[in-house]
Symmetry: C2
Subunit: 238 residues, 2 copies
């Protein structure tokens, strides 16, 4: 039975971290809500389901419903061959994925500092201040951290954890893609500052299954409804 | 060898979710940074450690370093007898803990919508707007979700997951405590709206080990340096 991924249609969003793992592994899956969100909303609004998710993305695997990106990848990683074999290293991978989750909140809130239920246009002034603080402080702090993790990996600086490709590597590929889309000016010099991260990004992008996926219609383009939005007025580089 | 918890001194903060689990289980642990943050900063700034945490809290158990609240509880839960015995339910517990983590970010950002490196006083206007949106939209959405999870638990509405006490129950106790401290007006009617959540809160607060801990000097009081801050101007109830 194929895995069922439930996520909003129209944006790569948080669903993308799950898609990249499923695609890299060549797993059999259905991206359920690409046609209609009815089945997804039925689960979310269910009054009988014992393990209701708070929000998409979530994964259904037979009777199991698993929600939250890091939790889904914790569950899928070993099944897809994308988690460290050493169980102790799986906590390191999970910790890194949770740092990525925190980073995504910071990235999202650059354009929505006040409320998710208001339009960007209605919180533009606060967004400018928040985005400037993000670019000056949070962006280098997070990227610098991920660069250090790569450089301090005892198995070599081509993997975030252990000596094999993991879902954390795939997720960081997508974060770099998104940041380059949203903040091209702020990111213009990133290769020089974060060489190991840049090399990881390029290596993931060259993997056959990832390349095939990125060129397919299953891959959704970044746009201004998602987490990574390109608003030139928020992309300051000084 | 005792567990070593590393977290900032002076606030309950995110470290509290780990403390509550260790205290309920009567585990042997050291709250390392209560005396000095030197040992904590040494690990965070290490240039050789293979699994550097991005930020506190983190836990050291012998050679293992585990970071992020949900990840630490995932690791400790089974050892402390505070996780479901059924492995599949552990993903449900982890998903709930991650929803609590997201909720905490929303709570924190009511007083820091613009930048963590600026004082509250310098982002007070944005904070008022964000807090009003939080109280009107996010607070009922999250509390309503947790109430539904309790009411739809096939093992009964006294536990968040499965039929035994878990770290998720302890964490929700602390969230309710914090919300009542920070937003007494917005929370004044919460018992009526969320009866199962209120009963869970009271039941956890009556557990002998928790009672003893709350009365001890190991428990830090809420204050205006933490996640849950009481600023009357942010606590609107209409």
């Amino acid at each position: 039975m194929p895995y069922e991924l439930y996520y909003w249609d129209g944006i790569p969003g948080r669903g993308e971290f799950i898609r990249l793992a499923l695609e890299e592994a060549g797993a059999d899956y259905v991206d359920v809500a690409r046609d209609s969100t009815a089945a997804m909303m039925k689960i979310i609004n269910s009054r009988t389901e014992p393990h209701i998710p708070f929000a998409p993305p979530f994964l259904r695997d037979g009777e199991m419903i698993v929600s939250h990106v890091a939790n889904i990848l914790l569950y899928l990683g070993p099944k897809l061959g994308l988690a460290p074999k050493d169980e102790r290293l799986r906590y390191a991978a999970n910790g890194l994925q949770l740092t990525i989750a925190d980073f995504l909140v910071q990235i999202h809130d650059t354009h929505h500092p006040i409320s998710v239920s208001q339009y960007y246009e209605d919180q533009k002034d606060a967004a400018r201040v928040r985005a400037a603080a993000f670019i000056a402080e949070r962006l280098p702090k997070y990227l610098g951290y991920f660069e250090r993790v790569l450089q301090q990996n005892p198995h070599g600086d081509t993997r975030m954890v252990g000596n094999g490709l993991s879902y954390v590597d795939l997720s960081l590929f997508h974060v770099i893609e998104g940041l380059r889309y949203a903040f091209p000016r702020a990111m213009q010099d990133y290769e020089r500052q974060y060489p190991a991260l840049d090399a990881l990004h390029d290596a993931v992008g060259q993997r056959p299954n990832i390349k095939r996926y990125l060129a397919s219609r299953r891959r959704l383009a970044f746009n201004e409804s998602g987490i990574f939005r390109h608003y030139p007025e928020l992309d300051t580089s000084d």
